[in-house]
């Protein structure tokens, strides 16, 4: 088994993209001081709406747009109570995660007539970059959202450190009262971050259900939103490190597929990415502790 062939790297990117998009949203919220653990639910909701809209209209891009819009609305259920009404975002997010799981399963039966997994020839998936004329080996079979996700990492890094609004968002997240005292419109920034995170989760969901595969399955986010939350916590709110954390998960998942091909039981292969990511979390925590000690 050759880990260094193009198809493996392509598999890594495919596995990374949805997690990365959701994690970018999570990072944005983290910067704004909203601990967003509703990524899982938003990802699932986005994946569902993408499939429904694509199925109805026959256009994958309309599906993506629908997913983004619907997930922004969904994230308003987080930003409204937690920013405006000062509810605990964790409690609200737990509710949203459960809501997404139940609502998608329910609507699936209402719309498609059956639960489980839905796929259809009418369902348009996102085109491969190869079809759009991109002839780079790793990207040939990726959806256009994959390079978008990678590009957004750079955009986010630039925006947070080099622009006025990025600086202000960081300030809001660090010290709410202080931000208010220097005259910033604090709620606006927090609402904005949460809603943009919703848009990113919508993209993540669309990539999952129209890019990685072309189908919707109940609970198909399968913990990717939680991995994104972990990635955000590992990143120390640095987009570059966030990318590394997400790539780690991507590598682990791609590796799991390979192992499955090599005869490892499917359950073990499915568990691998989560086990590896959890181990990385522990290691990172140990390292960070060491680093702060050396610093002090």
């Amino acid at each position: 088994m050759n880990v260094f062939e193009w198809s493996f790297l392509a598999g890594v990117l495919t596995a990374t993209a949805p997690v990365l998009l959701a994690a970018l949203g999570g990072l944005l919220c983290q910067v704004a001081g909203v601990f967003n653990i509703a990524l899982e639910g938003q990802l699932l909701w986005g994946a569902f709406v993408a499939v429904v809209v694509s199925d109805l209209t026959g256009s994958a891009w309309t599906g993506v747009a629908g997913a983004v819009a619907a997930t922004v609305l969904f994230s308003a259920l987080l930003s409204g109570p937690s920013v405006a009404l000062r509810a605990d975002p964790i409690v609200v997010a737990v509710g949203l995660n459960l809501l997404a799981l139940g609502l998608t399963a329910f609507l699936m039966r209402q719309i498609f007539g059956s639960g489980g997994t839905y796929s259809s020839p009418d369902l348009a998936g996102l085109p491969d970059l190869g079809e759009l004329g991109v002839d780079v080996p790793v990207l040939r079979e990726q959806s256009p959202l994959v390079p978008v996700a990678l590009l957004l990492v750079a955009v986010m890094a630039f925006w947070l450190t080099r622009t006025r609004s990025g600086l202000r968002l960081r300030a809001v997240g660090q010290h709410l009262d202080a931000a208010q005292a220097v005259g910033l419109r604090v709620s606006g920034y927090r609402h904005g971050a949460t809603l943009v995170a919703g848009a990113l989760c919508g993209l993540a969901g669309a990539q999952l259900s129209l890019g990685n595969v072309t189908l919707f399955g109940e609970g198909m986010s399968a913990g990717r939103g939680w991995i994104a939350v972990v990635a955000v916590m590992l990143s120390g709110v640095r987009p570059g490190r966030l990318l590394l954390a997400c790539l780690l998960f991507g590598v682990a998942e791609a590796f799991g597929f390979r192992l499955q091909g090599a005869g490892l039981p499917q359950q073990a292969a499915d568990a691998a990415p989560y086990v590896i990511t959890l181990a990385a979390l522990v290691l990172a925590a140990v390292w960070r502790r060491k680093a702060t000690r050396e610093h002090a």
């Binding site: 600086l167 010290h175 009262d177 220097v182 005259g183």
Partner: protein, 493 residues
């Protein structure tokens, strides 16, 4: 015409009349002190001037024109700046970012870091407020952070600068430097409103003083024509009793607290205390001086048992026990962290540690708990709406009296007090000092850590000076402040 004026300002919070028709006027380039006890209405008044609260009646004027303040943003726009007692800074941002935020220089859509750094450097230079523009604020000492706050206000073109208890967190040296800065700033035409408890400061740096008591103005003075006694009279409506005689009887007997060759290392193995030895006898107050971070925290934690059963600490001859040795009464500096559980009631807070005395086999009788609390509230003259309100709603001075009530009624012979009068007004301060003196006269051994030299000199029989974890000097309680101050900086001889 005044730079800023508050005219007939009245503000009510529920049943409490915080400000009652207050008039306050600040001239251009003047340092104007606002003094008063806790709860006298100073903070409310300043919050109104900075747009954080809206007055129920009265108005705010700038240069003679009435202005409407709905938020700090409005206040900033009208040339008002405020340095809060709890700094409003962003630890993860640089000094320059902290200063320019809200009015950042932008070039071609991007933050212009170079321009920000230049602007900050220029301001630093102009007012003698040194601070490295590219340093992260989170790692800076308190004194520098305060400079950043002042620079921020000046960067936003504040023409009236409000400072709320600015010296509470500073060492004597830093305080002197701050005053120089304030004079420099005032000389450029900026008006300064200095809110403080400390009358010596008012007299040292202020031009005029407005005294508040119970929401009303009780005195207006030019500092050149008044003195501390007159100010105290206006503040608390009576004169302070002359300070009590140093002691009723000399310390005698075996030490109740003894520290022998105590060395404490932090997690990295760096020595925070090295070879510290001293003893406190019954009826003695030993003062602990030193700039912040000289090992005071480590010493207090060792003596109270909070650092575990540290070898070298003895209470009445036996080693200290781990985890808050019950033989020590401890009045912590951090009133709302270590001192009290802010969300719990006054009754519960003063009960802590004594619950076993009241508990029956299965339960804690509420009636007894509250009766005990009421008794303590009376004896220590704590003003609280009832013993059932959360202690966090009490003013700083009353919360501190509650902590003292709890600690000094413990059957402990050793008392460790950290900054016992920080952030409390003169009336409470006097009361706290009396309580400590009484405990001393009843035979307690008291270790008193304070950053205020006047307090140490008022109370302590001996003063130990900590510097970089060592006791570098010992003075009698009445040694000149300058000598002690010099030892605090590590200067020998």
């Amino acid at each position: 015409m005044y730079a800023a004026e508050l005219v007939g300002v009245t503000k009510r919070f529920g049943p409490v009349l915080a400000n009652d028709g207050i008039d306050l006027a600040v001239a251009r380039g003047e340092v104007h002190a606002v003094v008063g006890e806790n709860g006298a209405g100073k903070s409310t008044l300043m919050s109104i001037l900075y747009g954080l609260h809206r007055p129920d009646a009265g108005e705010v004027r700038r240069d003679g024109t009435r202005i409407a303040l709905r938020s700090p943003a409005d206040a900033i726009r009208h040339g008002l700046g405020m340095v809060h007692q709890r700094f409003r800074l962003f630890p993860g941002l640089t000094v320059a970012e902290n200063i320019v935020i809200g009015a950042e220089p932008v070039r071609r859509g991007r933050l212009d870091r170079a321009a920000a750094n230049e602007a900050v450097a220029a301001l630093s230079e102009r007012y003698g407020l040194r601070a490295d523009p590219s340093a992260l604020v989170g790692g800076l000492p308190v004194g520098v952070r305060q400079r950043v706050e002042i620079l921020r206000a000046l960067y936003r073109h504040a023409e009236v600068l409000i400072l709320d208890e600015p010296t509470a967190v500073l060492t004597p040296g830093e305080t002197d430097r701050l005053f120089e800065v304030l004079r420099t700033v005032a000389a450029t035409g900026v008006s300064i409103l200095l809110v403080t408890h400390k009358l010596a400061e008012v007299l040292a740096v202020g031009d005029r003083v407005t005294v508040l008591r119970q929401g009303r103005v009780t005195g207006r003075f030019a500092t050149s024509e008044t003195d501390a006694d007159e100010l105290v009279n206006a503040m608390i409506g009576r004169s302070l009793a002359p300070s009590a005689p140093r002691r009723a009887r000399p310390p005698e007997g075996d030490p109740l607290l003894e520290v022998r060759d105590l060395t404490v290392r932090d997690a990295d193995g760096v020595a925070r205390l090295s070879g510290v030895s001293f003893a406190v006898r019954p009826g003695e107050i030993v003062g602990l001086a030193g700039v912040a971070g000289s090992g005071q925290r480590e010493l207090v934690d060792s003596v109270t048992g909070l650092r575990g059963a540290v070898p070298g600490v003895f209470l009445a001859g036996t080693p200290v026990r781990a985890g808050r040795d019950p033989r020590v009464a401890y009045v912590p500096e951090d009133r709302h962290g270590r001192g009290t559980a802010p969300d719990m009631s006054v009754a519960e807070n003063v009960l802590m540690g004594a619950q076993r005395d009241l508990a029956s086999r299965w339960s804690l009788p509420r009636a007894a708990v509250r009766a005990r609390a009421r008794d303590l509230v009376d004896r220590f003259s704590i003003s609280a709406a009832s013993v059932d309100v959360p202690i966090g709603t009490l003013s700083g001075g009353n919360a501190q009296k509650a902590v003292l009530a709890r600690e000094l009624t413990r059957p402990s012979q050793v008392v460790v007090a950290e900054e016992p009068t920080q952030g409390v007004d003169v009336g409470v301060r006097e009361r706290v000092h009396d309580l400590l003196r009484t405990a001393r006269d009843e035979g307690a051994a008291i270790l008193l850590q304070s950053s205020e030299l006047t307090e140490l000199r008022d109370l302590a029989d001996r003063i130990l000076v900590l510097y970089e974890g060592r006791v570098v000097a010992e003075f009698p309680g009445d040694a000149p402040e300058t000598d002690i101050g010099r030892a605090m900086t590590g200067a020998t001889g």
